[in-house]
């Protein structure tokens, strides 16, 4: 089906089911329970999961396959966002032209940066991409403010000269982004007893695009092009002496992953029409690197898992304050309650970064293949089969 089969097809179906049912899956706890804090099934976060999933899937096409570690991919996401917002300002509130433009602009930007950076490999390549992205960020924050609106970020205003559509909506506000009249922010709520599930148009647009992106990524992984990219990672000398020119292959991978980043940026802007310069900072580029490695570089599903993992901690753990903790541990004796709260406070609220840092270390130390490996191990445990020998053979890295 769809030109893919076996495990890949299963994987795509699993991702499809997960993505479509996310509003249920991410809201497992009843509203009134103390655990409701851990629910992640609200539109903004679900959109972020999916959008950063797309970003990471694209990054993985470059990094996972060719091994070229770009430290400047956030620049493409940022450029995508800016293009999309400009499209909303100038053309129309329909998300389609905005997303198309953001993919194209990010692709062109990636073509230029990739063309220059790919003249070097290894760490030299990483630093070149980093340098380009940092230049973009610094300029966007300061000198380019007329285009980027600098510190605040580019946003819509009431006097945008929109060619198709109005500058001001009927209610006197700024028009909202839509897909042929279907508003992106529109959300329906389903209440089932103490549970309530939110279905947002925007989320479903993102989810569909994630599936498309994921599908394309599978096709690329399984194509001769994907094979060549893996060959680039494995042995460039042999590739050259097999009559293949590595540069166009790596450049194509770079541009494709830049376009994925542009798509993610365009979607971010479509869900919430604001493009901030921080999106291009090195920390943002570093984040997608971390997502990919954390999930499992070079695997299909890993980057999506990594993206979800990091965004979950950023958005859910940072919101747990001592007030919440006292509610949770209110049943304990006073002294113990305070001790537990004091201890837990290190890891939540303003300490969410600490938890994330510790988890990075734990995952990479004990699960060398990232979260995907964790999944495989659990799967093996469940099936109860010891495939250790087989696994070892498959994993052993080349000695030379």
């Amino acid at each position: 089906m769809l030109g893919i089969k076996g495990k890949d097809l299963t994987l795509l179906c699993v991702v499809a089911v997960l993505a479509l049912c996310a509003p249920f899956i991410l809201n497992p706890f009843p509203q009134s329970s103390a655990m409701a804090q851990f629910n992640a099934g609200y539109p903004d976060l679900m959109q972020r999961f999916v959008i950063f999933g797309i970003f990471a899937v694209g990054f993985n096409i470059l990094f996972g396959l060719t091994g070229y570690l770009s430290f400047g991919h956030a620049a493409f996401l940022g450029v995508g966002s800016y293009s999309a917002v400009w499209m909303f300002k100038l053309l129309s509130m329909n998300v389609i032209p905005a997303i198309i433009l953001s993919v194209i602009v990010a692709g062109l930007f990636a073509l230029v940066i990739g063309f220059v950076s790919l003249r070097r490999s290894g760490i030299y390549f990483s630093i070149l991409t980093l340098a380009f992205a940092q230049m973009s960020f610094n300029l966007a924050y300061s000198v380019l403010t007329p285009i980027t609106n600098g510190e605040t970020g580019l946003q819509l205003s009431l006097d945008d000269p929109r060619i198709f559509g109005t500058s001001v909506s009927d209610t006197g506000g700024i028009p909202v982004t839509s897909l042929f009249g279907m508003e992106m922010r529109e959300t329906s709520t389903l209440s089932l007893g103490d549970w309530s599930f939110q279905f947002s148009n925007g989320y479903y647009l993102c989810a569909v695009l994630l599936l498309v992106s994921f599908y394309i990524s599978i096709r690329i992984f399984r194509s001769p092009f994907g094979l060549m990219l893996r060959a680039v990672k494995s042995n460039q000398t042999r590739l050259n002496y097999t009559g293949l020119n590595t540069r166009p292959y790596t450049l194509a991978a770079f541009v494709i992953s830049g376009m994925y980043a542009g798509l993610a940026g365009g979607l971010l802007a479509s869900m919430d029409p604001l493009a901030g310069a921080e999106r291009m900072q090195w920390t943002a580029s570093g984040e997608v690197v971390l997502m990919t490695i954390l999930g499992g570089a070079g695997t299909l599903i890993g980057p999506v898992l990594g993206a979800g993992f990091i965004k979950y901690f950023e958005n859910i753990f940072s919101k747990i304050n001592d007030n919440v903790l006292h509610q949770w541990f209110g049943g304990l004796p006073e002294g113990l309650e305070n001790a537990v709260v004091w201890f837990t406070e290190h890891f939540v609220g303003s300490g969410w970064n600490l938890t994330l840092g510790l988890l990075f270390m734990l995952v990479v130390t004990f699960l060398p293949g990232g979260l995907v490996e964790g999944g495989t191990r659990i799967g093996r445990l469940i099936r109860g089969k010891s495939k250790r020998a087989e696994k070892k053979a498959a994993q052993s890295k080349p000695a030379e």
């Binding site: 690329i220 194509s223 094979l227 494995s234 002496y241 009559g243 292959y249 194509a252 052993s396």
Partner: protein
């Protein structure tokens, strides 16, 4: 006129004359060996043939076309394949995938954005790779990680990958270096078989005289960057200058 014509090639590295006025003519469909002591310039010469090094002066013509100024992949696309001293294969990929790559390179040229159709879906390439694996006697290893194979198998795979490109000239850089005797013999047999079954010119650089004398039709002896003699194996064996310079025997007084 041979298929490979090297004329007056000079190459200096700083103060060292690595190659001095090398002339070489390799006849089509022959096996030509280049021997010489360490530092004689064998590898430098080979690197000049494949575009890794550019000679200071002189010309290298392959089938009437100059290879100078072309990159390794362009020269390869002209029909020259190279086997390295240490097998250069795609260690992270399976044996089958290793074999697929040259097949694609043969069909699609140096770059093609073939990103949608799956590898499995391209039956012509698949069959060709499969056939080559069978030829190389490696079909049972097709799902193995290339890096986890023995040195001899890696060499066999590398040669197979070169052949899959259907080159007109195959360059072998000490193909049996570091191999056990059994592997060496297997490699010799394989090369003999290739010589018999395929229309292909082979240039081989080798230390192991056993290998050289069992394969080569002509031998060039390099010493200190320049050709000492060129002749048939039998003549070379008895040549006094060669014995002195290379085989390390002093000429009887």
């Amino acid at each position: 006129m041979g298929i490979l014509e090297v004329k007056n090639v000079n190459k200096r590295f700083g103060g060292l004359q690595a190659l001095g006025d090398v002339n070489l003519s390799v006849a089509e469909n022959s096996v030509h060996a280049i021997i010489g002591p360490n530092g004689a310039g064998k590898s430098t010469l080979l690197n000049c043939l494949v575009g890794k090094l550019i000679p200071d002066t002189g010309s290298v013509m392959f089938d009437g076309q100059s290879v100078l100024g072309r990159t390794p992949y362009e020269i390869n696309q002209m029909g020259i394949s190279r086997v390295f001293q240490t097998p250069e294969i795609f260690g992270d990929l399976t044996v089958m995938e290793n074999m697929l790559i040259p097949c694609f390179a043969r069909r699609d040229g140096s770059f093609k954005l073939n990103a949608i159709r799956s590898v499995e879906g391209q039956a012509d390439i698949h069959d060709k790779a499969e056939a080559m694996l069978v030829d190389m006697n490696m079909a049972d290893k097709r799902h193995m990680h290339a890096a986890s194979m023995s040195r001899g198998d890696k060499r066999r795979l590398e040669i197979g990958m070169c052949l899959a490109q259907e080159p007109r000239l195959l360059l072998l850089d000490e193909p049996t270096a570091g191999m056990a005797r059994a592997d060496t013999n297997n490699t010799i047999d394989l090369l003999k078989q290739i010589k018999e079954e395929r229309n292909i010119t082979i240039v081989i650089i080798e230390h192991d005289m056993h290998v050289v004398f069992s394969l080569a039709q002509r031998i060039t002896v390099l010493a200190q960057g320049s050709p000492l003699v060129e002749d048939t194996p039998d003549k070379i064996k008895g040549h006094p200058k060669v014995r002195e310079a290379y085989l390390g025997e002093s000429t009887p007084a």
